[in-house]
Symmetry: C3
Subunit: 266 residues, 3 copies
């Protein structure tokens, strides 16, 4: 997994501009995660400035955590522009399955946009595939290792996009090849927006790497940083702060030492 | 006060889904407080998804800290749905008294909704009772122990809802019985959204307890966590982080040791 | 520089109410910075309550970081009311130059409002003066010490307002006198909203001091707090928390010991 450290170096050298149309709960959180890792975040949703901002950006993050009419309109406009300008896009379908609005909006974005990666929890990705009742608010109500792998593969094929199903084990698939990542800590579930941070960090890697490897690199880097943070502070407030510290401190050596990434035999 | 620790255990077992329509300043803060204590927060205000989300939720938190036309509309729709579905609702009338819009919106929500608890500072609750000039921005301009007790009782009767007036001493009343809580630390006033966090945590307790006891349990738990955080870090940034740590760490034994709750003789 | 410590004492005694119409990313962050230093923040953008809120406020902070139609309308209404009520206003033209919407909105606010101070980075202030291509997202793409000084002076004359161009060295000018401040730490660039915090803190000083001195006092105080925070924690998450701690702890003695402020000979 030495390539992950090299991608991280490339990311830090490029300092990619990552444009986020994201939810109000995590705006500050994801901006800080992007700054800590070495990217440059920008948040903008006014229709009038989308084209200029996306033209400047190296990647686009769409996160549907707090929707409203105006934001939905901005998101569709943004993925359309990104498609034209050939900018990579990652979609976080927060809470898909909890409400029809969230499921429908995510599916429509996957349909009209040229989405490079979709990252969600088990319940969210299941909902996108029409398997309902597995989301509770914005959390996954269930998690099943074997089913998670299948979901990632099925969604990757169905939506013709790299899919990452994150949980105790993460599965990342492009429909042909599938990888499992076993880093991280359950404490991530006790801080709001950590899934959204993971998505944003994959977004930053999309500026320097193709989607499948960007997803693996982003999740592995983020989750190893979380492991180190948890070792220093086992409680959620202090852990949260240390997470930014470790997104800043993490390097290729640490990733090489800790990465638990393996390809799943088909 | 052993029942508070037991309610906290129930809360953590149930992991209630708490739906928040809240202000932009504290969204991240209250989500993290709810996660730390053991609840599952969700934020959603799009009209199209309110019914589904409230149906899933165990409690609804309405916080008027940053109003606009659309949000007000969502709030009214939400309390209406919650009434129909018999979900408990807590209202935080942030800044009532500072502007007519805030006072009017709060009063109207109390009128049309079936509000279980209203929690505010002295100036805010005074404003709801028509006693103006006691709010300055979102802070209480004055605080008077004896008057606070009277306010809590009067508001509880007037609005037919449990009322919590928080300050140096908190008074919680259902109009018949009134309790004083003397936990907490003035450092809470140096971190934004701590009142809103207290409200959200009462919201989580509403999923496992009736309104009067849920309010006492929520405030006592929150304020003891704040005492511990302050003992570890007497400065606002570090204190803020430790507050989440202690919302996670607090248990029945600590509550029993520290709780300063007493019933006021009528 | 003993006057800065005295202004800080005045600020803490007055506890000014600082009204912010600001971006979603930094609302929590700037509210906490204002509370830590000793001011009282309020965030409100509903047209219906602007007049009452600004009447209560001691200063108004306008930050264009996340624009939309409604917010722009609120901002224009707010600067108009502030002008009428003679309240000091500080403008943060976040991302000016990155998009036409941001440049145009900033210029129009400077034109119709009675703006006391504008604070931006090199690229943003350059864009306001028609020198484009120096902003990348919300970060300055270039920085040049000599040019920064000239920009501050030119903008101060052009817009007839105190201008602060912040960077490795900050330049503050009222068009006649120009000051350089060399405090701070590059780690400020690794936490989102630190520029916005600096703006908000100048806003608090505007409640007790004239614009040129308020800008110098605000930047110096903020950046010395950042130096102390960085000495305690050289990583972004922990640094961020310590920054609030030191905004709370900083006093006249520390400012006197550390301030690197000098007037530039014309």
């Amino acid at each position: 997994m030495e390539w992950i450290g090299k991608d991280l170096e490339k990311l830090r050298e490029k300092k990619p501009l990552v444009h986020n149309i994201t939810n109000y709960v995590v705006m500050n959180t994801t901006a800080n995660a992007l700054l800590a890792i070495g990217a440059s975040p920008v948040m903008a949703h006014a229709i009038e400035e989308l084209e200029e901002m996306i033209a400047l950006a190296d990647a686009l993050v769409i996160n549907i955590g707090t929707l409203d009419e105006h934001k939905i309109y901005s998101m569709f406009k943004a993925v359309e522009i990104a498609k034209e300008l050939k900018k990579p896009v990652i979609l976080d379908p927060v809470g898909a399955g909890a409400t029809k609005l969230r499921t429908k909006t995510s599916l429509k974005l996957l349909e009209v946009g040229d989405i490079s990666v979709v990252r969600g929890n088990f319940g969210e990705i299941a909902a996108l595939l029409g398997e309902h009742g597995k989301t509770r608010g914005v959390d996954s109500a269930v998690y099943d290792k074997e089913a998670a792998k299948d979901l990632a593969e099925k969604a990757a094929e169905e939506f013709n996009t790299v899919t990452a199903v994150t949980g105790a084990v993460d599965y990342v698939s492009n429909g042909k090849r599938t990888y499992a990542i076993e880093n991280g800590t359950p404490m991530l579930g006790r801080v709001t927006g950590t899934g959204c941070m993971a998505t944003a960090i994959i977004g930053a890697f999309l500026a320097v790497e193709e989607p499948l490897k960007a997803s693996i690199a982003g999740l592995t880097t983020f989750e190893i940083a979380a492991e180190k943070a948890f070792e220093e502070s086992p409680y959620p407030g202090s852990f949260h702060m240390k997470l930014y510290d470790w997104l800043y401190r993490i390097d290729g050596a640490l990733i090489k030492e800790r990465a638990k990434v393996r390809e799943i035999e088909p």
